[in-house]
């Protein structure tokens, strides 16, 4: 972190030289585990006392804690969702889950129909949730936005699914890439549009190597088992639980850590931001860059897990803060000129459907900035 250029406001640079150098702006996370622990424990306690009603407020507070501690050029991000909207959404989701639950008891046919309906609705939920989230996020008093339509979400899913099925699963990276492309290239920050400049090729590279990481130790291990196979009457040296602990878990962490770090770097590093209408040219374009390290990500996951298990959950806040800090500190904005967008401080209203979708659609990846 030492050799990062000193922070400066874009206006100054613009005045001093005619062709401003691109500036590498670090993203920082300033939250602490002890501060978040107190917020988290009060959230859980109040949610219990209010029979879950407070959980909507807790969600907004939690999200805001991480947004408002994420700093870029001395300004933070902010989350604006109104807890009442989230509560309404939660009631709808709760009713849906209850319907599925009772259907499961009454008739398996109805249960299957409801599940199928849920699967069919998931692209729409995905699109609405992204829109809800973006619309309720801001930086420097300008809101983000998401322009991906529900129709485009269905197109993305169907195309990805088709490739996935035709290739008998081998096309999974393509599916993954389509979804990331839909996610990244439809976001907006005020009048600036995000672009995703990557083909599906590198995704195949990542997953091919992940498969290699998964298969090589297994192949090696099988070879060892064959060489040192127990002679008749002798108990096998390795029992199933030991096998799981010694072989499967490390491989799982290795593969997940590898894919997470590499995919984050690749995806974030392929995102650029330029004003509406302008072609993504050199001069007006800002870029993102990420430099997560595979081994560091694996260490983060393993130490978080061990900490959480050993303290029966008390270290969950610590784990979340560490993860947020790691992701922030390995993310940069390469700003080309001023980092200024025009846009409204208040967006158009949210629909009830979007309120419900945001809970269901809280999917693994978010913007990360």
């Amino acid at each position: 972190m030492e050799n990062i250029p000193p922070l400066s406001l874009g206006t100054k640079v613009e005045q001093e030289s005619l062709i401003p150098e691109p500036r590498r702006l670090p993203v920082q996370f300033t939250g602490s585990a002890s501060e978040y622990f107190r917020i988290w424990i009060v959230n859980v306690a109040l949610s219990i006392v209010t029979l879950g009603i407070y959980s909507a407020w807790a969600k907004v507070r939690t999200k805001n804690y991480f947004y408002r501690h994420t700093m870029l050029e001395r300004s933070c991000f902010e989350y604006h969702a109104v807890p009442m909207q989230i509560l309404k959404g939660r009631i709808i989701v709760g009713a849906g889950l209850a319907a599925i639950f009772f259907a499961k008891i009454y008739s398996l046919k109805l249960y299957a129909v409801l599940l199928l309906l849920f699967v069919l609705l998931s692209p729409a939920i995905f699109a609405l949730a992204l829109a809800f989230n973006a619309r309720n996020s801001s930086y420097r008093n300008v809101r983000f936005g998401f322009d991906g339509t529900v129709g485009a979400a269905y197109k993305t899913y169907l195309a990805g699914m088709a490739v996935y099925i035709v290739t008998l699963g081998l096309g999974f990276p393509y599916f993954q890439w389509r979804i990331v492309d839909y996610w990244a290239s439809n976001h907006r920050y005020g009048n600036q549009h995000f672009h995703f400049n990557m083909t599906s090729g590198p995704f195949f590279g990542i997953y091919a190597r992940a498969l290699g990481i998964m298969l090589l130790p297994i192949a090696g291990f099988t070879a060892l088992m064959v060489v040192f196979r127990p002679t008749a009457g002798q108990a096998p040296v390795l029992q199933a639980p030991v096998l799981l602990l010694l072989v499967i878990y490390p491989i799982m962490f290795l593969v997940v850590g590898y894919v997470k770090a590499r995919q984050s770097n690749l995806v974030l590093g392929s995102i650029s931001l330029s004003p509406a209408g302008a072609a993504p040219s050199e001069t007006s374009t800002h870029r993102l860059a990420a430099n997560q390290k595979v081994l560091e990500v694996i260490w983060l996951m393993v130490s978080n897990l061990v900490g959480i298990v050993l303290t029966i959950g008390l270290l969950i806040p610590w784990a979340k803060v560490r993860t947020a800090r790691y992701r922030a500190e390995h993310l940069y904005v390469i700003a080309n000129g001023e980092l200024v967008a025009q846009g409204s401080a208040a967006p158009s209203g949210n629909g009830v459907l979007a309120d419900a979708a945001t809970d269901l659609g809280d999917i693994g990846f978010d913007l990360g900035i």
């Binding site: 206006t11 306690a45 408002r68 501690h69 930086y139």
Partner: protein, 354 residues
């Protein structure tokens, strides 16, 4: 009242652009006054009266906003100063923040969570599940698991090979028991499965495996097993278990769901533990039911202990290594001790839970 006058720094945003302006905020009980600090882009000073200001809620030491009614806002880290001004502008400071910043209330919150979670899992949830399950009319319960036997037939059972005469004898014993509960739609089914076992489905279907019929030395033993299974039907155990495990799953999803995926493994352990405890509780309840039922019919409850012992010897090997906490049944030793500890004659005070 002494006139409050506080100065703090912040960033001003005009509401149409993300350009930041460094400002000094001078706050009085009347409102705020902003003076712009950037030399090269001097802005006229701005003034907002208190009724045009909305103070953002405090969240730890995060940057906080003063939002103005024209869409502009000031972001500042001067949380203490803003907290002092907010009441003067007629705005409340956050109660939740006071709870979050006080270690005593944090400790109280931990105590509350532990107490509620513990008593909820031990008493609250089983109590609620029993109330709901027992409130449902018989016809509705019949519907449950109507397809279960058919599904099990496809997956684990094969047709029984027990001779017709023997089936008739067991059926006769079963009907003798069933006459005591004419309101339950009890039926008996024979299936081959590979291990000695018996099941009760919510709709009153009781299944005994060929291996169980074979392993039984006396009809009293089989009747003990059947009495235990009728206990499951009578107390609607399967429905109650479904309700309980769903609630536990929902709870752990809501509590730990937003944690990282690494802790998903951790989150599943307490639910497996809770579900095992609920299952053990049902087995004990069915045992108690069998004890009082057998005593009523002048049968020795110890007969059930005898066949349990033989069953566990037969299938025991496969289950080795599962800790008792995560087992679906109480340990066979404790069950046998209970069954053998009671006499043939009913005690004055039955420990039956219903």
């Amino acid at each position: 009242m002494v006139e409050e006058r506080l100065k703090f720094d912040g960033q001003f945003f005009n509401g149409t652009s993300s350009r930041p302006y460094r400002v000094t905020v001078t706050a009085t009980s009347e409102g705020v006054h902003l003076s712009f600090l950037d030399e090269h882009e001097r802005q006229p000073e701005r003034r907002y009266l208190k009724n045009r200001i909305l103070v953002g809620s405090r969240l730890g030491d995060t940057t906080r906003s003063l939002c103005f009614d024209d869409g502009a806002k000031v972001e500042s880290n001067a949380n203490e100063e803003i907290d002092r001004m907010a009441p003067l502008w007629g705005q409340r400071t956050s109660v939740v923040h006071r709870l979050e910043s006080n270690w005593r209330s944090v400790i109280a919150a931990i105590g509350l969570i532990v107490a509620v979670a513990w008593s909820g899992f031990i008493w609250g949830l089983p109590w609620a599940a029993r109330r709901v399950a027992m409130a449902l009319p018989v016809e509705m319960v019949d519907e449950l698991g109507k397809g279960t036997l058919a599904a099990l037939d496809k997956l684990v059972f094969s047709p029984s090979e027990v001779k017709q005469e023997r089936q008739k004898e067991v059926l006769h014993a079963f009907e003798e028991l069933a006459t005591s509960y004419p309101d339950l739609p009890l039926t008996l089914n024979f299936r081959k499965m590979g291990i000695p076992n018996a099941f009760a489905l919510p709709n009153g279907s009781v299944v005994v495996t060929d291996e169980l019929v074979k392993i039984a030395k006396t009809d009293e033993e089989i009747m003990g097993v059947l009495a235990h299974e009728i206990g499951h039907v009578k107390h609607r155990h399967m429905l109650r278990m479904t309700l309980e495990t769903s609630a536990v799953g929902l709870f752990s999803m809501l509590t730990f769901g937003d944690a990282s995926q690494a802790s998903a493994l951790f989150a599943s352990l307490p639910s497996i533990y809770a579900n095992a405890q609920y299952s053990q509780e049902k087995e004990s309840e069915a045992d108690e039911f069998a004890i009082s039922f057998m005593q009523k019919l002048d049968l020795p409850p110890a007969a059930l202990a005898d066949i349990l012992q033989r069953m566990s010897e037969k299938i025991g090997e496969g289950k080795a290594g599962i800790p008792q906490y995560f087992s679906s049944h109480p340990s066979t030793e404790s069950r046998m001790a209970r069954l053998r500890g009671v006499s043939k004659v009913p005690a004055a005070c039955m420990p039956n839970s219903l």
